[in-house]
């Protein structure tokens, strides 16, 4: 099944990119990094939308509703709180406007 072969390849390459990129993040930013990465796994919401297209049983309706609530909470909350944290990181040179 060629599509799975491609998908697994993508998965492994993305893992390697992840390790490479994450390794360069300074310790100072590890908490925002973790919560930022956390919101990225909220991408599962895309999966929820996709399966919603095929839903036709009451059980799957329940699943879609629950998954949409959980996934969106993950995404939106994650990005908002990460931004809240990053906003606080200020530089010593006060005139240069801090973390922006």
């Amino acid at each position: 099944m060629p599509s799975l072969v491609i998908s697994v390849t993508l998965f492994i390459l993305a893992l390697l990119i992840g390790i490479e990129v994450i390794g360069k993040v300074p310790a100072t930013l590890h908490t925002p990094l973790m919560s930022g990465a956390n919101s990225i796994h909220g991408i599962v919401i895309v999966g929820v939308v996709i399966v919603a297209a095929e839903a036709d049983t009451p059980l799957s309706f329940v699943f879609i509703f629950l998954a949409a609530v959980l996934g969106t909470m993950n995404v939106v909350g994650g990005y908002v709180v990460t931004d809240r944290m990053l906003e606080m990181f200020k530089s010593d040179k006060k005139n240069e406007g801090g973390a922006k």
Partner: protein
């Protein structure tokens, strides 16, 4: 014929839009490599998320007959609205000291959503799903469910909810092995007998949920940072597995990125705690401290000092290093420490903060807490960079940190041996602010406290720092 062409065209467009979203996630993480660009990175990553979700909706409307999935779309939109409100509310409300709990809660919901998507994919398929779908979706269900209950317990423990902390599990390894085997067995059965997929997928879910509980319950509270990282990695993997099952590039790449982030951070954390990752996960240490008690304690007496004396030492110093630990955050005294630092800097004293990798309750937590107190990030110095500077420091002020300053770590045969520590004892004078004479998490006395150049200031960190600030102001007046 026309319809098929349209469908494949939109498929190709969607593929590239999802790929673009994935690229934006990588860019977002890349910009996290400096506090200057990190906020922009988070924004790019969020924009990628919006693009991916919009694409999914566009595809939904273009490809499917709306009348049939009307209920589903209504529920989907309602669910997104509820989730968005809940997400923003919790993100705005949370205190920075409570960040680890919130991350854990987001892990819970993310893992739950991934498990639901995968479960739905198994159950909703018409006819027998392909083996590939069964394996990947099955793994998604399994990992997502473990994360769901595991993160829930982790959040409860970090929040200090009484009954969650008291939960114990006699014969923990037996339960761990039992539920791990049952989960894997159900997953295998699901793949072997797809005819009864309802039964086997429900069993996989239930056993995996139980495994999540027995996995996290025995692990001690102080090891939770590592556990959160691991669970974060698990959620990422669960999402990637769901992505493989529904063949979606955005889910695969995003899941893999989160997976590698979680694993990288867990490894860093467990190295900084001087414990092999596996021993943290096996849940030893936190429960028993038998080995710790047998070690010979250091000899000698502690010398006490007063806020006034400390103020004199600080004001007449050329260089002062602050060493904050989680005790500082527990006493909510970050602002006082920052104020003291500011006061000394105005007086011409060089002030720096030594940040141990495990200061706080998750990686980098202390940096966030001090950033909230307006300490510029340039003054927060990592272990490797600050250690050579201790000999030139006139005074090191340790506030609420213990094991990470214990010189016993340099000798073999103690519970902290080999752990990377801050070389506080090498500075000319050391003052330790500490709530009481209690031992640290490792359960041993800190040799630092008995050194001739060390003085102790017992009491609440917040009240103590306020007294020091008042005394310093008096001296400078």
């Amino acid at each position: 014929m026309q319809a098929t062409t349209t469908a494949s065209a939109i498929d190709i467009v969607a593929w590239f839009v999802y790929l673009l979203a994935a690229v934006m996630f990588v860019m977002g993480l890349h910009y996290m490599n400096s506090p200057k660009t990190a906020r922009k990175g988070n924004f790019i990553s969020a924009a990628g998320m919006v693009i991916a979700v919009v694409m999914a909706f566009v595809k939904l409307f273009v490809q499917h007959d709306l009348i049939h999935s009307w209920v589903a779309i209504g529920l989907l939109v309602a669910g997104i609205a509820v989730g968005a409100v809940a997400g923003v509310w919790s993100a705005k409300k949370v205190k920075m000291t409570d960040m680890p709990q919130l991350v854990s809660v987001f892990n819970t919901v993310g893992g739950g959503a991934a498990a639901l998507v995968a479960l739905n994919d198994i159950l909703a398929a018409e006819g027998t799903p392909a083996l590939v779908v069964l394996i990947t979706a099955g793994l998604g269900v399994m990992i997502g469910s473990v994360t769901f209950t595991g993160s829930l317990i982790a959040a409860g423990k970090l929040q200090g909810i009484g009954w969650v902390k008291k939960l114990s599990l006699p014969g923990k390894s037996v339960w761990n092995v039992l539920f791990a085997l049952l989960t894997v067995a159900s997953l295998v059965m699901l793949c072997v007998m797809p005819g009864q997929r309802l039964l086997w997928s429900v069993l996989t879910t239930v056993f995996a949920l139980c495994y999540g509980l027995v996995f996290v319950i025995p692990i001690g509270g102080a090891d939770m940072p590592v556990v959160i990282s691991i669970l974060n990695a698990c959620t990422g993997t669960a999402v990637a597995m769901s992505g493989l099952a529904i063949d979606n590039v955005a889910l695969i790449v995003a899941g893999a990125l989160v997976g590698s982030a979680g694993v990288t951070l867990s490894v860093l954390m467990s190295k900084a705690m001087n414990r092999p990752l596996l021993s943290v996960l096996a849940g030893g240490f936190g429960g028993s401290d038998g080995a710790a008690g047998s070690a010979d304690g250091p000899e000698g007496t502690m010398k006490e000092t007063s806020a006034d004396d400390l103020a004199v030492q600080l004001v007449y110093a050329d260089k002062v290093i602050f060493v904050p630990g989680f005790g500082l955050a527990q006493a909510q005294a970050q602002r006082e420490l920052a104020d003291l630092g500011e006061l000394l800097k105005e007086h011409g004293v060089e002030v720096e903060y030594a940040i141990h990798p495990v200061a706080g309750r998750m990686p980098g937590h202390m940096n966030v807490l001090l950033a909230e107190a307006n300490v510029p990030y340039e003054e927060l110095v990592d272990l490797d960079d600050i250690n050579p500077q201790f000999p030139s420091a006139n005074v090191s002020l340790v506030v609420g940190a213990n094991d990470v300053t214990n010189p016993a770590a340099r000798k073999p045969g103690t519970p902290v041996s080999g752990m990377p520590i801050l070389d506080v004892d090498k500075s000319q004078n050391v003052v330790v602010m500490k709530r009481g004479r209690g031992k640290g998490y490792a359960g041993i006395e800190n040799e630092l406290y008995f050194e001739p150049n060390t003085q102790m200031l017992f009491g609440d960190a917040k009240a103590g720092l306020q007294a020091v600030i008042a005394a310093v102001k008096e001296l400078l007046a």
